[in-house]
Amino acid sequence: MLIDLDRFVAEERPYWEELDQLLTRLEVDAGASLDLPGVRRLHYLYQCCASDLAKVSTFAAEPALRQRLENLVGRAYGEIHEVRGRPHRLRPLHWFRCTFPQTFRRHRRAFHVSLSAMMLGALFAALILFARPDLKPFLIPAQFGHLYSDPSERVAREESTDEDPLAGARARFSAMLMINNTRVSILTMAAGLAWGLGSLFLLFQNGLILGAVMIDYILAGESAFLFGWLLPHGAVEIPSIILAGQAGLVLGGAIIGHGDSATLRTRLRRVGPDLVTLIAGVALLLVWAGLVEAFLSQYHEPYVPYALKIAFGMTELVLLFLFLYRSGLHDEDRRAKEAP
């Protein structure tokens, strides 16, 4: 019980003010760090304030003082009890070269499931169209209505035209593709909230469309056109959607928490940074895919040989998978050795 509030405030105020200044410095500068004496001082000041709050809580007459101390203790509590890494200074190159592929590899099982869901969709559509080609309009949504026509007709038309189909609109088309694909990716990840099922459904649906288009062109004998058209951008775009599905499955997996004794909150806290890394990586890859689709994919023979486009696409695919499976391994090994 405090008898002399004036004296108590006068004696303790310097500590409150010092803690307030220290916290403000830590909050404003994301890169600020404390040395050992600094950490000790912060902890000491936090304990002083916490004990002052405990004393004031029993003293009825100063709610404003109590609120001020609650605020200080709350802020200091957030700093002291936070065990996750502090938001460090941006290192975009290191993030792209190491963090992104390492995160991918940590959840490679989810990627394989995601890949399987899309391939299953593609296979399913291929089998259906193989047996019943008339079902094409049911498998390809109306927004891709331009693909309803006969593949050979389209190939003949595009190979014979002298006009640039995207003259004066390439940049706009490219931006539209980037935005649309990023939206689809975000939705594919967000749909993982439904225990991962939403992501699986969207991956399967994307697989259906892809499979239907591919089998349609292959059956029409237009494989060279198909791969020359799809591979340059698809080699990056399709894996990106699968990566977004991987993020959705990681989210769904954390929500289900099978075989994990941690609480839902802890599981979600654990995967949060990985989701952000995966979706940011996807957004970057889709910028590249959007540029390639608008500036290369839509140009066919005789202007660009199909062999060249297919070789370009295959190279991208190999590089992408080398990057995802190999990049940052050295850094990973070093960290593993350093870990106690």
Partner: protein, 259 residues
């Protein structure tokens, strides 16, 4: 460290045995904040349109591409950027005194802000935050699905109101001052919520109907008499209202003198 719940309050218990609580924001205030943010966003979009207009005219394809990308970045990043740089607030949230907070009172991390905003499309389904509102109503912490996945809550941050003590103290003379030990006992026994009630009852004197006021003050005076038993010479001739003003004076005199 645990986060408990009172009615519409998020209560955080620290390992040091300290408890602090914060009120949670409900659907109406969050909806109002969202509307303000939509207005600010639309204004920003029209400003950007004006700025980029000449560019679109000069270079139609590149100009439109840049315009589309800027719109997309604004739409996706508006909440994220504000919530990060304003520590959990957007213009709408700031206006309605709301703030995004970590559910355990820890530092709000950038990743949490990204997740709660990227998962928004699911909360928006099927239209007008349908799923989000249902999730908030079913959830004791008023979290939409994005909040649940990001481990965040939206709390209210009402301003700390300093009571106008001049209006509630007893005036020039307070007979209780003759009994400092009883005043000390009173200060010890009266809880903060009782203090707040006392201040509000005295501040709202003119808003109460005369009859209701007499009844309320009588009940409250009886309650405070139970905390400290002042001798008869100190309370003789005191109305219930004067009694309450004396109590307020005894509780606040020291605090107000220190300001």
């Amino acid at each position: 460290m645990t986060a408990g719940m009172l009615a519409n309050q998020l209560e955080i218990h620290t390992p040091e045995g300290i408890t602090f609580s914060t009120p949670l924001a409900g659907v109406p205030s969050r909806c109002a904040a969202w509307m303000v943010d939509t207005l600010v966003f639309l204004t920003a979009i029209s400003l950007v349109s004006g700025l980029l207009g000449w560019f679109v005219t000069a270079l139609p394809s590149v100009g439109t591409a840049i315009q589309m990308l800027v719109y997309f970045l604004l739409a996706t990043g508006y909440n994220m950027v504000f919530e990060w740089f304003w520590r959990g607030q957007t213009p709408g949230k700031r206006l309605f005194r709301l703030r995004v907070m970590d559910v355990q009172g820890l530092r709000l991390q950038f990743g949490q802000i990204v997740i709660r905003n990227l998962l928004r499309p699911v909360d928006l389904l099927p239209a007008g935050y349908g799923i989000g509102v249902i999730a908030m109503l079913l959830n004791r912490k008023n979290q939409r699905l994005g909040d649940l996945a990001a481990n965040t809550v939206v709390v209210r941050t009402p301003p700390v109101e300093e009571p106008d003590l001049e209006q509630v103290v007893a005036g020039k003379y307070n007979s209780f001052r003759q009994y400092p030990h009883l005043e000390a006992r009173l200060r010890q026994r009266v809880r903060p919520d009782e203090t707040a009630l006392l201040i509000q009852a005295l501040l709202r004197r003119e808003q109460l109907e005369a009859k209701a006021r007499v009844a309320l003050y009588a009940e409250m005076a009886a309650h405070f008499r139970g905390h400290a038993d002042f001798p008869e010479e100190a309370t003789r001739g005191l109305t219930d209202e004067q009694y309450l003003r004396n109590v307020a004076d005894s509780l606040f005199r020291r605090a107000s003198a220190s300001r």
